[in-house]
């Protein structure tokens, strides 16, 4: 009988569950119109390399009698150098040759001058946390302490875990050092082990549920199913001739150094990442705003497909985050019962965070569309700055009732929990909501 029910359920899920059904109540217009945002926010172009905005709005005051007592987070490492050394090395070869052959325009010479400054810092440092990234994490720790002093009063424990990636561990260390310096009575534990990878990076090989063809390297990095269409879109969208004509007297000069589309993309990434390296150096002016918007859109599309509700992976990508959400909910229950833990901090990566946001059905991360032009209206990877983080802040009153509030990058977000207004949710409702989302994700993975 039970088997029959399961079978029926499976058939029903397969036939009737459409992607949209996973995201009940999704706000179809979670952001202002793209054109307006683009004009108003000059750093939007830097996408997921953008710097964290520390000036955050004050949260909705907690209901009378409720005080924060516990925080659970999942956050991304701080500002880092671009991930591949060969980006810097290739551009160095290109512009060195351009300078030596007197092939650069005045703009090209200025680009080169700025590039040399970046290269002096970035050479051989692909993927490493920058000193701005260290500072960001230190500042975020002090900010958390300022925003929620009550949580960290007394001899409480802070349990911090990181993926085994050096930039994440260093982010954790910078964060914890600043936290411990400002609040010396805390007992801060830091760890970075393969043993925690199954939930800190849910699509890694450490999660036994991950299908071999969907393990991280096959999904996120250069082997994913998104790769070919994305390359094709770049070929159709980029205008390397026009871009390089501004920098080189003869734009065909660049051809000897690689595919011009690829080289323009490398310049685009360089522009986006440079704020992570230096506050003084800026390459944005070398990109025409309309051109930059088109290129941004391609990168945004990639994020939408790899980590969000895009159709490429048929929801299996974000569904993997169920182990992370399960660990968050479970450890919150244990920590509240134990009463000694003030905070649980998890240091990881942006893709996994988007998976989690989509799993949680958060507005801005949950609209399903196959209309390319609409994606930029409903999903924005510029909302994933370096050090981006999701915080769950737990409040309690004297009667022992517990409320939970969620904040993405220290800006509060609302959840689609039936019958609850938000942004403060009863813990029982929040937990039940998470359990439903976890069940749904497991169904998707078992389909």
């Amino acid at each position: 009988m039970k088997k029959m029910t399961l079978l029926l359920l499976a058939v029903f899920s397969a036939v009737f569950l459409r992607a949209q059904d996973f995201f009940p109540g999704a706000d179809p217009q979670p952001y202002p119109p793209f054109a307006d945002s683009w004009k108003a926010d000059p750093m939007m172009v830097t996408g997921n390399y953008r710097m964290y905005r520390m000036d955050t709005p004050a949260p909705t005051p907690a209901p009378a009698g409720f005080k924060p007592f516990y925080i659970s987070t999942y956050g991304r490492h701080g500002a880092r150098f671009f991930g591949r050394n060969d980006l810097y090395d290739t551009l160095a070869r290109l512009f060195d040759a351009g300078a030596q052959n007197d092939a650069l325009t005045a703009d090209g010479q200025e680009f080169y001058r700025r590039f040399q400054e970046v290269y002096a810092l970035a050479r051989g440092r692909g993927g490493d946390l920058t000193q701005r990234g260290v500072a960001q994490q230190q500042e975020l720790a002090r900010k958390m302490l300022r925003d929620y002093p009550a949580v960290f009063r007394g001899r409480k424990v802070v349990d911090a875990r990181s993926t085994t990636v050096p930039r994440c561990i260093l982010s954790m260390t910078a964060f914890c050092d600043a936290l411990g310096t400002a609040a010396p009575s805390l007992e801060i534990r830091q760890d970075a082990s393969a043993a925690d990878m199954y939930y800190l990076k849910p699509n890694s090989k450490y999660n036994p549920k991950v299908r071999p063809d969907e393990v991280d390297s096959k999904m996120d990095v250069g082997e994913g199913r998104w790769l070919e269409p994305w390359q094709e879109m770049w070929r159709q969208t980029a205008r390397p001739q026009a871009f390089f004509a501004r920098l080189f007297k003869d734009p065909s000069f660049v051809k000897a150094f690689g595919d011009p589309v690829h080289l323009e993309r490398e310049c685009f990434y360089l522009m986006a990442d440079t704020p992570c390296v230096s506050a003084e150096i800026d390459f944005r002016e070398f990109f025409d705003s309309d051109e930059a918007a088109r290129l941004w859109e391609l990168e945004n599309w990639r994020f939408y497909q790899v980590s969000g509700p895009g159709r490429t992976y048929q929801d299996r990508n974000w569904a993997y985050a169920e182990v992370l959400l399960d660990q968050i909910v479970r450890s919150a229950g244990e920590d509240m019962a134990d009463g000694r833990t003030a905070a649980r901090l998890r240091f990881g990566h942006d893709y996994m965070l988007v998976n989690l946001l989509t799993l949680l059905n958060l507005d801005g991360w949950n609209v399903v569309t196959e209309d390319f032009g609409r994606i930029k209206e409903v999903f924005r990877f510029s909302e994933l700055p370096m050090a981006t983080n999701l915080k769950l802040i737990f409040y309690r009153n004297r009667a022992g009732e517990v409320l939970v509030r969620a904040a993405l990058n220290d800006r509060e977000v609302r959840l689609h929990i039936d019958g609850a207004e938000g942004p403060y949710y009863r813990w029982e409702d929040f937990e039940a909501f998470c359990r439903r989302r976890i069940m749904l994700a497991r169904q998707i993975l078992e389909r």
Partner: protein, 436 residues
């Protein structure tokens, strides 16, 4: 007069640090040492010899290994062997007992290979705390502590623990933190990120490598692995189907010596006789000595790969002495780099070349690079601006062939610096001349 006597006494002690006991005796007295590089750090109890009159510490340069960690081997390998043997009915009663002990322990080892442990964290916190306690003047307001780490998680977490130790002892100043491949040639010189290592390894002649391996094999052959295995497994022939008997025995040895590093309430030392432990250690010791010590195998170039690490310590000191804004430089790396660095510096106790593989154990001992092992350079200055440096290995004074300026252990910075640069030049020259 008293000072002079003390100086002579200290110098004598330091000159003959190994003369007191053989390795076999030391290990018999403290089985922890049988673990070699798994040896636990022994914090010194005595306060350091005071600095000469008028000299105050003002800068510290530190190069240390991560703290105690889990075994590097995959713990599932042993479990599989024991399970297979149980299924085939090939375990002795002791083997059965070992299997049940190991099965109970396994969940706490799974996926923990190489991870820093709570024991390791405490070691680094302790070292930092003593540094703050003994050299508080170094850590003045407005100065920065600059720390870099190998990219290995256990090293990064060791750095975190060290910083926590400084903070707990009252350091409130600024820190700078960094890691990445770009640092590896100086914090982990035994890797391919160090061009000198690549060059040296590339120039090793096949016959030289074979000579080293043959000596290692000679010591290994003297171990009766079958005798060990027959206590656990009931069928000699069947055990061979699992693999080389000595490799199996060595897996148990690694487990036994690494467990004290975890702090877990488990002990597998009882599987070994003291002689077996000693011999297992001696084989590993020879290997480390051969590839990273002052051995003759590769023309005396094994340690030479650490030149970039030492050059960086010197250039950092040059910069820091000029700017005066850095309190301490901290580097978190690995055992192999530290071994090479000691021989490169020509430290007493790290330069003896053994004539025969059996003599290596008494010439050079891997357990003196314990978990959290470290080299500290403590810089002192007087009002006249004279600079003296003392070198501390695992927080004990170390000597090298440079004329000391005071008390047998304080060297003039310019003398020490010249010695270091000469050694680095010699190291590079030797590798350049390979094969020798």
């Amino acid at each position: 007069m008293r000072t002079a006597l003390l100086t002579v006494f200290t110098a004598l002690c330091l000159s003959f640090p190994l003369s007191a006991q053989t390795a076999r005796e030391e290990i018999a007295a403290d089985r922890n040492k049988a673990g070699g590089i798994y040896c636990l750090y022994a914090a010194p109890k005595d306060a350091p010899v005071p600095a000469p009159k008028g000299f105050k510490p003002f800068y510290i340069s530190y190069f240390g290994r991560h703290g105690a960690r889990h075994n590097l081997a995959d713990p599932a390998v042993l479990l599989n062997w024991l399970d297979q043997a149980a299924a085939a009915g090939k375990l002795t009663p002791l083997g059965e007992e070992v299997r049940s002990r190991y099965t109970a322990l396994y969940p706490q080892l799974k996926l923990r290979e190489g991870d820093l442990t709570a024991v390791g964290t405490a070691q680094l916190e302790g070292i930092a705390g003593r540094m703050m306690g003994q050299y508080a003047r170094v850590f003045q307001k407005g100065r920065t502590v600059r720390a870099v780490s190998s990219t290995a998680p256990r090293c990064l977490l060791s750095m975190a623990a060290f910083l926590h130790g400084l903070r707990s002892s009252g350091w409130k100043g600024g820190i700078s933190l960094d890691t990445g491949n770009a640092w590896m040639r100086t914090v982990a010189p035994h890797r391919k990120t160090n061009e000198l290592y690549v060059q040296q390894r590339g120039r090793i002649r096949t016959e030289d490598r074979a000579a080293c391996e043959a000596d290692v094999q000679r010591l290994r052959d003297e171990i009766d692995a079958q005798a060990f295995l027959s206590r656990l497994f009931s069928d000699r022939e069947w055990v061979r189907s699992l693999g080389d008997p000595h490799a199996i025995m060595n897996e148990f040895y690694s487990l036994a010596v690494s467990l004290p590093c975890t702090g877990l309430p488990a002990d597998f030392y009882d599987l070994f006789t003291p002689e077996e432990l000693y011999r297992e250690w001696a084989v590993e010791n020879l290997r480390y000595y051969g590839y990273f010590g002052p051995s003759k195998y590769f023309g005396g170039t094994s340690w030479a790969i650490a030149a970039p690490a030492l050059e960086k310590i010197i250039s950092d000191a040059d910069e820091d002495l000029r700017t005066g804004t850095t309190a301490a430089r901290l580097r978190f790396g690995h055992d192999l780099g530290l071994m090479c660095l000691y021989s490169l510096l020509d430290l007493e106790g790290w330069r003896t070349v053994a004539a025969d593989p059996h003599e290596v154990a008494d010439a050079w001992r891997s357990y003196r690079v314990p978990m959290a092992g470290n080299l500290q350079w403590i810089f002192y200055r007087n009002d006249a601006g004279d600079i003296l440096v003392r070198l501390r290995v695992n927080e004990q004074d170390a000597t090298l062939p440079v004329e000391p300026a005071a008390k047998g252990i304080f060297y003039r910075w310019e003398d020490l610096r010249a010695h270091c640069l000469a050694r680095c030049a010699e190291a590079r020259k030797r590798i350049e001349r390979m094969p020798l």
